[in-house]
Symmetry: C2
Subunit: 387 residues, 2 copies
Amino acid sequence: MNAELHVNSSDDAVAPTPTAEAVHVIIPAGGAGTRLWPLSRKGRPKFLLDLTGAGASLLQSTAARLAPLAATITVVTGAAHVAAVARQLPDLPEENLLAEPAPRDSMAAIGLATALIAHRHGREAIVGSFAADHLVADSVAFQNAVRQAVALAGAGWLVTIGIEATGPSTAFGYIHAGEALDVPGAPDGRRVLDFTEKPDAATAARYLATGDYRWNAGMFVVRAGVLLDYLADNRPALAAGIEEIAAAWDTPARDAVMARIWPDLEAIAIDHAIAEPVAAAGGVATVPGNMGWDDVGGFDTLAALIPPRQTGTAAGAGVLGEADVEVVGADGALVASSTNRKVVLLGTPGVIVVDTPDALLVTTPDHAQQVKDVVERLGNAGEVALL
Amino acid sequence: MNAELHVNSSDDAVAPTPTAEAVHVIIPAGGAGTRLWPLSRKGRPKFLLDLTGAGASLLQSTAARLAPLAATITVVTGAAHVAAVARQLPDLPEENLLAEPAPRDSMAAIGLATALIAHRHGREAIVGSFAADHLVADSVAFQNAVRQAVALAGAGWLVTIGIEATGPSTAFGYIHAGEALDVPGAPDGRRVLDFTEKPDAATAARYLATGDYRWNAGMFVVRAGVLLDYLADNRPALAAGIEEIAAAWDTPARDAVMARIWPDLEAIAIDHAIAEPVAAAGGVATVPGNMGWDDVGGFDTLAALIPPRQTGTAAGAGVLGEADVEVVGADGALVASSTNRKVVLLGTPGVIVVDTPDALLVTTPDHAQQVKDVVERLGNAGEVALL
């Protein structure tokens, strides 16, 4: 039944077929989301925000979406956000909330969580890593994709869920899918030929026309031992550091070891550290997901996600927050307000107004991606209170 | 020297030529300025605001502009604004600050002030009435126009200063000037043939082409006795009521008489009560003023008045108030802020952002005249705190 497996560098790779095996979920909760300033701040990053009026933050929604599939959930976040994460996820066991003293990119975060899971639950445990700050509209479709990914992971594959592209986006990297894999429980599984960087528009359109490209949302599912072996093969120093921290984690030496080793770990994304080299060697699989996914990469995206609210004398503007909004002639506008002010839009279709106690942004979807430049300038100007 | 005077209904009309006679200035300070909401409010009307960053309110600028010509200054305002006016004009004698218990339009306000001036300074005194909430860029030109108006008023005319039109505005009524008047000290004086309502664009263009039309800014200069006689002729009941109040004003009976009579006075504009009928009878003169006048009738006008401030990485937006504004790609925009927030405009040329502690307005010059409709809806919705 593992006939289609061509390359696997680890002894763990050829494993029994899983039957709805539970996943040890890893949620890396990092990133400031500067393109959503002034809504998102250093102290109140995107993943802690309720960006759709759902009544739950992106982190909370991510955890809730994964709960039915999860054996355990582990969150890795910056030390500054540990308290906020603990408040938002009161059921998360304290030992599963990992604080990074400093950001070392996704490989260190996911690697440490995986190593801890391997120590606690064995190297056969299947881990799945899912960003804390993405939106998924269709949880059932998401869970079905994860179940197929689990089946492939059980068979030894490093699995990435590929988002079925709804358009030739230039904002995402793409996964190039190859031949179908015959793994029970994963009828849609295909080998990954390679990962691409964000393409230009013409290239993206060409990708879509082939039907073989999907958006890379950075969702990985894999046996803990398989991931750790790939890491040891590709980044031995990083793997050794992570293993030393993990071995000390559930002991009194944790803080001392962490303080000594973490700052010097290589900062590298899991894509570059493992996914790309393993794909080149033929060891990465993908399953498709058509789940209403969005990384909420800016106010342009957000404006398209928030349905217009009937306000005042006309429909037309999306409203995020409890803002008291009156809209006249401002179809397609977005008001995100965390103040209690009256907000009136008069003859400004498509405008984006982000209203917070200490900063106000007025922009348009066409300029939304430049918000991060504004934040950078604020930082350069030393306006730290606004970051 | 009064050969050109054809019609005057009063004995006071034919008077000696004045030589730089000082004016008893009347400043009716009324009107909410709802088209400047949320900057202007019922409790903080337009005339109390510094709308150009000059460091002085419109009322203060009006008083300062008239001071060199003024024998006295009298302000008539709503009872709710007496304290604010007193604070803004600390040198205004208390007896020259008249409180209206309720608005009865401009004829009652100007009539009462004129009657008081006649009692205190004689019927020969020249009064001049100038709105509290207009802008005049060129004080010297303004003062020269007033001096000519004083000369005509001394000769018995009811004089209105006509603003030399800079374009075919449909926002103002027009003064239709007839033949030149040969009054010493008033070389530009002309008889007024009639006053017109706000015209449509084609009519306004036709007016301008003749060279005989000027904007009516509601500035009147006249001998006190002449005005009171015209009022008695045209509105005898109103004249009698005003005279009864004025006779009691500087006595202990003032409040009782005011409370008994004021509420029943006819509410009518001075234009309809006097200026139009007297013009029809040939008794109104006009002098031209080319003084950079503006009534600041909305944010469209205001946006054109405020020069762009160099902020952030680009010039381009006018800024009113002490706002900390960063502008990228928003030429011609206007930010009026009374909060201490950071305001960022990104890719929104021409947008108007009015930022106050409890209300935020985002609009454009093309929609600025609809702001009053928003305020009307707020009132209808019972949102009194925002009015």
